[in-house]
């Protein structure tokens, strides 16, 4: 009986002894079609680890900022002043077609892979493999050989997807840096101006003239960012961001951005997006109901206050960040104030930020 009751342990001990460590070596070599891995070789350490865009610093070398680019304006087009802050180093559109936009972007980091994925993604497509990319029609841009991609379909770059859109995109790659000219607009308009676009691309050159005041450009008066419709009382030390496309855009401290914006649609999906930026899942009914409420422009708005690691929709990363969003529904659209920065900067300013938000008024 003794033996019998001890017995259950025997196999355990035997099996335990069989368990040990093995020396590490590589597995046998496996062959895979290159298109399945789509490897990007010789990418710099920072780019491999997604760091170049950290802190919102613009990636292009400072030298590029001092330069200006120009091209031979096709007939029926107009030139607009460049907006380097939005990576539009030269900007044109088809006259009388406010839906169209054509711009040159130089020296964007991230390599072809990251950029092309964004381009294709905007039309809901997947980037083809490297071989297919290499087979695209050839162009020359700023003296470098590159390719042309043509898109058509629903374009979702802005807040509202636009159907029946098309884009022509000429690009060149040098290491991690990509130069591109992108022309978007309603499909028939883009189709009609395809050749004009190609001519424009071929004509783009570095403007040898000193950076001219934008008013000298041909065409109508420049469309500087529209004067803000809003006013706000901000504490001392907040620095307005010049030339921003956003309303009430301020810089607080070193890295914290503050701005007011609006977007069509419902509040909840937007809350989910802001939450996802901080690595959070969608909000539920109870969570939504429990969000603190404040007044924004006279209507009730929710306060979404999150701390954690921030990754913006464009991939910008900020560790130990705080994201403070006040968002309210104004008719069919959402108006929101967003303030993102290192928690160490935002937290001490939280009350001041909320107080400033409470002072936002429509002008007039």
């Amino acid at each position: 009986m003794m033996l019998r009751s001890l017995l259950p342990n025997v196999p355990f001990l035997a099996l335990l002894a069989a368990c040990g460590d093995s020396a590490s070596t590589w597995s046998a070599e496996r062959e895979v079609a290159a298109e399945k891995r789509n490897l990007q070789w010789d990418v710099s350490t920072r780019n491999r680890l997604g760091l170049p865009e950290m802190g919102g610093a613009t990636p292009q070398p400072a030298a590029d900022d001092a330069k200006a680019w120009t091209g031979t304006l096709p007939s029926g087009w107009e030139a607009l002043p460049p907006e380097p802050a939005r990576f539009r180093h030269a900007l044109w559109r088809v006259a009388g077609q406010p839906d169209t936009e054509c711009y040159l972007t130089v020296g964007v980091g991230g390599g072809l892979r990251q950029n092309a994925q964004r381009w294709y993604g905007q039309f809901g497509q997947t980037m083809p493999d490297t071989a297919a990319m290499a087979a695209l029609p050839a162009i020359t841009l700023l003296g470098k050989a590159g390719h042309l991609i043509e898109f058509a379909g629903t374009y979702s770059s802005g807040p509202v997807p636009r159907e029946g859109f098309a884009a022509l995109l000429a690009f060149t790659v040098a290491g991690d840096r990509v130069d591109s000219v992108k022309f978007t607009g309603p499909q028939p308009v883009v189709a009609a101006h395809r050749q004009a676009f190609l001519d424009l691309v071929a004509s783009i050159r570095v403007d040898t003239a000193p950076k001219a005041p934008t008013a000298d450009h041909a065409g109508p008066a420049p469309t500087a960012p529209a004067p803000s419709q809003y006013e706000i009382a901000v504490p001392a030390g907040w620095a307005p961001v010049a030339g921003s496309s956003r309303d009430l855009h301020y810089k607080i401290g070193e890295q914290t951005e503050f701005y007011l914006s609006g977007m069509g649609g419902d509040l909840r999906p937007m809350l989910d997006i802001w939450r996802s930026e901080m690595g959070q899942g969608p909000i539920d009914e109870a969570g939504l109901a429990a969000l603190p409420k404040v007044s924004l422009l006279g209507t009730e708005a929710v306060v979404l206050d999150q701390t954690g690691d921030f990754t913006s929709m464009t991939g910008r990363k900020l560790a130990a960040a705080q994201s403070l969003v006040v968002a309210g529904k104004q008719g069919a659209a959402i108006t929101f104030v967003k303030c993102v920065g290192p928690a160490a900067e935002v937290a001490p300013q939280r009350e001041a930020i909320l107080q400033a938000i409470a002072t936002i008024r429509r002008k007039g």
Partner: protein, 677 residues
């Protein structure tokens, strides 16, 4: 064979339970009393079947009202007395859930004083800085909406802070402190009550008729209400267009303010509980509208006449609090219109049936048979040879079983689903299965033991079901999550495994019965009789094992088809496995002779807690893919069951050891008990 301490002690338990049911009734100051007459029961019944959409399904108002009241109030009805200025109390007033909702709609100034919110933890009130006079007299306390309202913001802040903290991963919801749980609970309760009011909310608003424009639209009125504006929606929009370019024109008066308010109503939606099924072009929309949804079509002059009629009828009822006949006519009109809309959308089908189902309350009625059945069975043991009592007990239990089965079948019909889709369903199904199995055994061997167990098991499980229903306060016919949406697997795996649970529980009762009888009655009871109980325990264990094993593996097969793995050692899966392991080990231990009758029955009795662990406890752990719900009362009930079952087993073991066995002489009479002659 004349006296069994086991059964007489059960009487005491029953009496104690009855005594515990009486309770003091809170008073409400009579000065707020607006509704002088009780509601017409026929009207309440009609209104209970008012179709509306809530939590993704079309259901009768009665269902919504009942579960809202359970959730907020923790009871099936609302009781209070009117106390006049001299401190004299009226007779007790009892409101059904539907009556409460009608009061909350039509007599809000009265209903805000109802003792509505059940506060079980006074520290919650301290946490939201709500002052309350007097000390706590009972283990819980009632708060009216009026009393709670001042703490609303504080409550929202605190609840928001808890949610926020958990969202950031700084704490987990299952680790909330009792006060935090209380705060979340109270906030959710407040939201439920406010949602009930929001169905009609904007209809009570008054809009000023100011300026020529509006006066032209509503001659000789100084103010109008929402339904009037909706009726005149097209003309109203025309006015807004007309004055669009001259808002400063004095003739516009308050036109634009009213328009702003209408827009606000449209934006807000008021559709958590939705009364308006979209019609016409919108008929394909699955989501129903609240009042907000009707505003835009009405302003475009395109509102469905039915929707306008519903709004008008509801508004008429709201303003006719003092005119009972007008009020009642309006409510009936509302019901008629709402039914017409639901019918037109093809969504009215099961609403009436569901309303009837709750009115009939068949499982509750089964108690009317099980409890007398238990009584008759108890008498049967005093006069064991009385065949009439045996027949009576059998008949009563069978009728009770019939009610439970009918209840389960009705639920299947209402939902178009197999019998079990949530935890509540398991009670009804397990009650039916357990009683059915016990009665089947009785019919085979006629030892009266199985017949004794049947009504007790049925009554206890049904009472637990009812307690759980109120405690949980959630619609028991809720829509299913996508992963559960498979009638095939619900019918096979879920049903099978629950038959296994039922058999495990009943088997534990048999084992316990043997243990107690064999210990206390070792010198009185016949050995053949006792042996028969062991055989029944064996049989039911084998029966349970078959279903538990097959059900558990079927669950794995289902998981393999939905999650890509057969077995993930998830908590619920482990619970089911524990049942199987316990039963297989038990049968092998008996077969190998490791245990005799004594050990076998103790082990069978211990399977009861194992089943309870798998059936309920793993859900309380709050982890895993199968974690459906959490409730504290359930936790307490489980602790009680574990304690009770261990206590019974311990008692049996002690008695077995302590009571000396008399001479090995044949038991009195020598004839096996219950062997029909």
């Amino acid at each position: 064979m004349t006296r069994h301490p086991f059964f007489s002690s059960l009487w005491l338990v029953l009496l104690a339970a009855l005594a515990a049911c009486s309770r003091p009734v809170p008073p409400v100051g009579a000065e707020v009393r607006l509704r002088q007459q009780p509601w017409d029961p026929a009207l309440v019944q009609t209104m209970a079947s008012l179709p509306l959409q809530h939590e993704g399904r079309v259901k009768p108002l009665g269902t919504l009202a009942a579960f809202s009241l359970y959730f907020v109030h923790g009871r099936r009805d609302l009781q209070f007395v009117w106390r006049d200025q001299d401190g004299k109390d009226s007779p007790k007033v009892t409101l059904t859930p539907t009556e409460f909702v009608l009061d909350w709609w039509i007599y809000p100034q009265q209903a805000v004083d109802y003792p509505l919110f059940r506060i079980e933890n006074r520290q919650v009130l301290d946490a939201v800085e709500l002052q309350r006079e007097g000390g706590q007299k009972m283990d819980f306390d009632w708060l009216s909406y009026r009393q709670l309202a001042p703490a609303r913001e504080k409550l929202r802040e605190q609840a928001g802070a808890i949610v926020d903290r958990e969202r950031r991963g700084q704490s987990e919801s299952r680790n909330r402190s009792p006060v935090e749980r209380g705060v979340m609970q109270l906030w959710n309760q407040l939201v439920v009550v406010e949602d009930l009011r929001a169905i009609v909310g904007p209809l009570a608003w008054e809009f000023p008729i100011d300026g020529q424009a509006l006066q032209g639209l509503f001659p000789e009125r100084t103010k109008v209400q929402l339904a009037d504006l909706l009726q005149a929606g097209g003309q109203f929009s025309e006015l807004v267009r007309q004055f669009g370019d001259k808002p400063q024109d004095p003739a516009a008066g308050k036109l634009f303010e009213v328009a702003q308010d209408l827009k606000a109503i449209a934006d807000e939606g008021y559709d958590t509980i939705a009364l308006f099924g979209p019609l016409g072009e919108q008929q394909a929309t699955r989501r129903w509208w609240g009042l907000g949804g009707v505003v835009r079509p009405a302003l475009a002059g395109k509102a469905a006449p039915e929707h306008l009629a519903i709004a008008s009828a509801l508004q008429t009822a709201l303003v006719s609090g003092a005119d009972v006949s007008r009020r009642d006519a309006a409510l009936r009109d509302l019901h008629r219109q709402a039914v017409a809309v639901a019918t037109q959308r093809g969504e009215h089908g099961k609403v009436e049936l569901e309303s009837d189902y709750y009115r009939w309350s068949l499982h509750y009625q089964s108690l009317h048979w099980f409890l007398p059945g238990f009584l008759v069975v108890a008498l049967m043991w005093l006069w064991p040879r009385n065949r009439l009592l045996w027949l009576g007990g059998l008949a009563l239990s069978t009728i009770g079983l019939g009610y439970v089965i009918a209840d389960v079948v009705l639920r299947c019909v209402i939902r178009d689903r197999p019998p079990i889709t949530n935890l509540y369903d398991t009670f009804l199904f397990i009650a039916a299965t357990g009683v059915g199995v016990a009665l089947a055994i009785e019919l085979i061997n006629r030892r009266r033991v199985a017949l004794s167990i049947a009504p007790v098991f049925g009554a206890v499980v049904i009472m637990l079901a009812r307690a759980f229903e109120v405690e949980d306060g959630q619609d028991t016919m809720k829509q299913l999550q996508a992963v559960l949406d498979s009638n095939y697997w619900l019918a096979t795996h879920v049903t099978t495994i629950n038959i296994g649970y039922a058999a495990g529980m009943v088997g534990a009762m048999f084992g316990t019965t043997w243990l107690l009888l064999a210990s206390f009655g070792k010198n009185v009871l016949d050995a053949v009789f006792l042996k028969s109980i062991v055989r029944m325990t064996y049989g039911i264990t084998a029966f349970g094992l078959t279903f538990a094993v097959v059900g558990t593996i079927l669950g794995g097969v289902w998981a393999n088809d939905s999650w890509g793995r057969f077995w993930g050692w998830d908590t619920k899966e482990n619970g089911a496995l524990l049942i199987c392991i316990a039963q297989v080990a038990l049968l092998h231990a008996r077969m190998s002779g490791m245990v005799k009758d004594f050990g076998f029955c103790i082990a069978a009795a211990l399977i009861g807690p194992v089943v309870a662990f798998s059936w309920f406890h793993v859900n309380l752990l709050g982890v895993g893919l199968h974690a459906y719900g959490f409730s504290e009362g359930t936790q307490a009930a489980l602790s009680w069951y574990y304690t009770l079952q261990s206590g019974l087993i311990l008692t049996g073991v002690v008695a077995w050891a302590a009571i000396p066995k008399a001479d090995a002489r044949p038991a009195v009479g020598g004839e096996p008990v219950g062997s029909a002659s």
